[in-house]
């Protein structure tokens, strides 16, 4: 699985929304219903799974699913 697939699978698990419904435009809070505990759980899960570190400022910039996928592309 690619990093992007890993991220989408985690989002589906944590938000409870089926993976098929999670497209790039979805907003983490408004559409997927992630409150801050859930968002942080997602970030830490992702960091662990991909062995990356996401800075607080980078995390604070990601508001949509697309933002996350693009971030994973830029980090290689």
């Amino acid at each position: 699985m690619s990093k992007q697939d890993d991220a989408l699978a985690l989002l589906a698990e944590i938000s409870g929304h089926p993976a098929a419904e999670i497209d790039r435009e979805k907003d983490l809070v408004a559409d997927l219903g992630l409150d801050s505990p859930k968002t942080l759980r997602f970030l830490v899960d992702l960091e662990e799974k991909l062995d990356v570190e996401i800075s607080d400022e980078d995390a604070a910039k990601m508001s949509t699913v697309g933002d996350i996928l693009d971030y994973l592309v830029t980090t290689g």
Binding site: D27, S36, L40, E57, A59, A60, M62, S63
Partner: protein, 574 residues
């Protein structure tokens, strides 16, 4: 024993009295690092203070610390105190699109309190610059830059007076409304001593004598994290095990593991944290825990829910957690931290909710949050300002040495909540046999996951969303969601009836709220103009709107269904 009269003296005495203890940071994988002992920390606080002097931080000047829980936060926040500046901790940046709002808040607070220096990370400064906040970026200094400075050689620790303001605590609130609570050395010491005594009392002595450590994930800008964990340790000499809030929220198991590993332990957290442990800790993994050394679990900062206490005891009882470990408490930043603490330790005690209890919180049984701290008086007042008898509900008011002296640079707001020597808390409750029970709030405050949200901040988003231009009226309020605590509902008056248009407004409201406070809305209710209850002066009555919502009497707008062609027009692929 010599009694310290300022925080600086207390830290110096503690380093001499408990040289073997100190602060241990837990990393992002849940592992504890080396730790630093109090004598070593004392030296680092003095060095940090002397470097802040070199940097040009002036005494009596507010100094913002916008760092996550880290060595740098502790050194420069406490260093600021040693220097005689007024350190102020800023909440860490939220996630999911919250950066822009965070920077704006930071800049706003900086301007309002006149802080010349903001200690922060390199990336925060870069983001401030990228956002065009040049003045903010100019005030920023990183811990690494401070570390590289030569301490000013003539620097001497500030000789503070007990009644001098030691530091500021920011109340939660929207942009432009955050207030800075002034806490004196005397108040901070009084509160920490009161907690140490009251928590320790049923265990056979001051908590710092009977217990060994505190394990905390609470953010250090939160009064419970700053006073209840960091200062309680720095003053009374607990071993402090500190993890990032992020680590706990993602991995609650790590908090519980550390609670079992560092001798007799104290921990503090809001109700939602205990609920999170019940919901998120895998029962299989929980079997390896040993919570028998966890001797006091203070629960406060939001409504204490009996169902959470029961669920936690049931889940973690088999691994040694005892019901009497729970010590409900009540407090607020304006009282330094704690007002009442359960000093009996016989398990959570409840009374059935009397008439007049706020239904919005969904409480049928109310947990006692304990007795007032030593030298602290709690009075319950009716709306007309008279004191009510035991058992009657009224506004909780507090008197005593822990009460703040006012909001920094805000005499008007100070005069509103300090009346005849009483701190008017804005919380509702009653006294029974000397114990306090919380039943609701007069102030329109929403608490989600231990974070305070101001309704008017959310309403402003609704009123301005999608070309609203601030002309709409709305009401934000919270409703109970069982053990999950409070959830937020927004009721909005609109003149539009077109379904598409309303969907656009709703989405903008949800996005705006999500990116401002990281909270998903439970419901957005559109009503016709003029349908929200208002006072004669035109102020929206949030409590009445909420009651109507709960009773199903808030009339939802019937939307006009758009013509099929309109749907097709809209339905073009993006």
């Amino acid at each position: 024993m010599v009694e310290a009269t300022t925080l600086i003296e207390a830290l110096e005495l503690n380093a001499a009295r408990r040289p073997e203890r100190g602060i241990h940071l837990i990393d992002g994988r849940g592992r504890a690092g080396e730790g630093r002992r109090y004598p070593d920390l004392l030296t680092s606080f003095q060095a940090a203070a002397a470097r802040l002097a070199t940097h040009g931080v002036r005494r009596r000047e507010p100094m913002l610390v916008a760092l996550p829980t880290s060595r740098e936060f502790i050194e420069y926040w406490v260093g600021g105190l040693f220097h005689g500046a007024l350190p102020v901790a800023m909440a860490p940046v939220g996630s999911a699109g919250a950066l822009a709002v965070h920077l704006q808040k930071l800049d706003d607070v900086r301007t309002r309190i006149g802080a010349g220096t903001v200690v922060c990370s390199e990336s925060l400064r870069d983001e401030a610059r990228a956002a065009g906040l040049e003045e903010l970026a100019g005030a920023c200094v990183t811990a690494a830059e401070l570390d590289a400075l030569t301490p000013r050689p003539d620097w001497k620790a500030h000789r503070a007076e007990p009644d001098e303001i030691a530091f500021l605590q920011l109340t939660s609130g929207s942009t432009g409304r955050q207030r800075a609570v002034q806490i004196s050395h005397r108040s901070a010491l009084h509160n920490a001593r009161g907690i140490d005594e009251t928590i320790g009392h049923p265990l056979g002595g001051p908590a710092s004598e009977v217990l060994q450590s505190i394990v905390s994930w609470l953010p250090l800008n939160h009064d419970m994290g700053l006073i209840g964990c960091l200062f309680l340790s720095l003053i009374h000499g607990f071993d402090l095990w500190l993890m990032q809030p992020k680590s706990f929220l993602a991995r609650p198991l790590w908090w519980l593991k550390h609670l079992g590993e560092h001798g007799p332990t104290l921990a503090e957290a809001p109700n939602f944290a205990f609920q999170l442990c019940v919901e998120r800790v895998d029962p299989e993994a929980a079997r390896d825990l040993d919570l028998s050394n966890w001797r006091a679990a203070m629960t406060g900062a939001e409504m204490v829910r009996p169902e959470t206490i029961d669920a936690f005891c049931e889940r973690f009882g088999p691994v040694g957690f005892r019901p009497e470990t729970f010590r409900p408490c009540y407090g607020l930043a304006e009282a330094t931290l704690a007002v009442t603490v359960d000093g009996v330790a016989r398990g959570a005690r409840t009374l059935s909710a009397p008439a007049g209890t706020d239904h919005g919180f969904g409480l049928t049984d109310i947990v006692s949050v304990g007795q007032p701290l030593p030298d602290t008086e709690v009075g319950i007042f009716a709306a007309d300002g008279t004191r009510v008898r035991d058992g009657s509900i009224g506004e909780i008011s507090v008197k005593g040495p822990s009460i703040f002296s006012g909001y920094y640079n805000d005499p008007e707001a100070s005069a509103e909540c300090l009346v005849d020597g009483w701190l008017r808390t804005g919380d509702l409750g009653f006294l029974d046999s000397g114990e306090l029970y919380i039943t609701g709030r007069t102030k329109d405050l929403i608490i989600v996951n231990g974070n305070n949200l101001m309704p008017h901040e959310l309403e402003r988003i609704a009123e301005n969303a999608s070309e609203g231009g601030g002309s709409r009226r709305s009401a934000a309020f919270s409703i109970a969601d069982g053990a999950d605590g409070e959830r937020v509902v927004l009721a909005v008056e609109v003149s539009e009836t077109d379904a598409d248009r309303l969907a656009t407004i709703e989405r903008e409201v949800r996005l705006g709220v999500g990116h401002t406070v990281s909270v998903p809305l439970a419901d957005v209710v559109f009503v016709r103009r003029g349908r929200l209850s208002k006072t004669t002066s035109g102020k929206v009555q949030r409590n009445r709107v909420r009651q109507q919502y709960l009773d199903g009497k808030l009339e939802r707008l019937t939307v006009s269904v758009p013509a099929p062609t309109a749907v097709e027009d809209r339905d073009t692929p993006q």
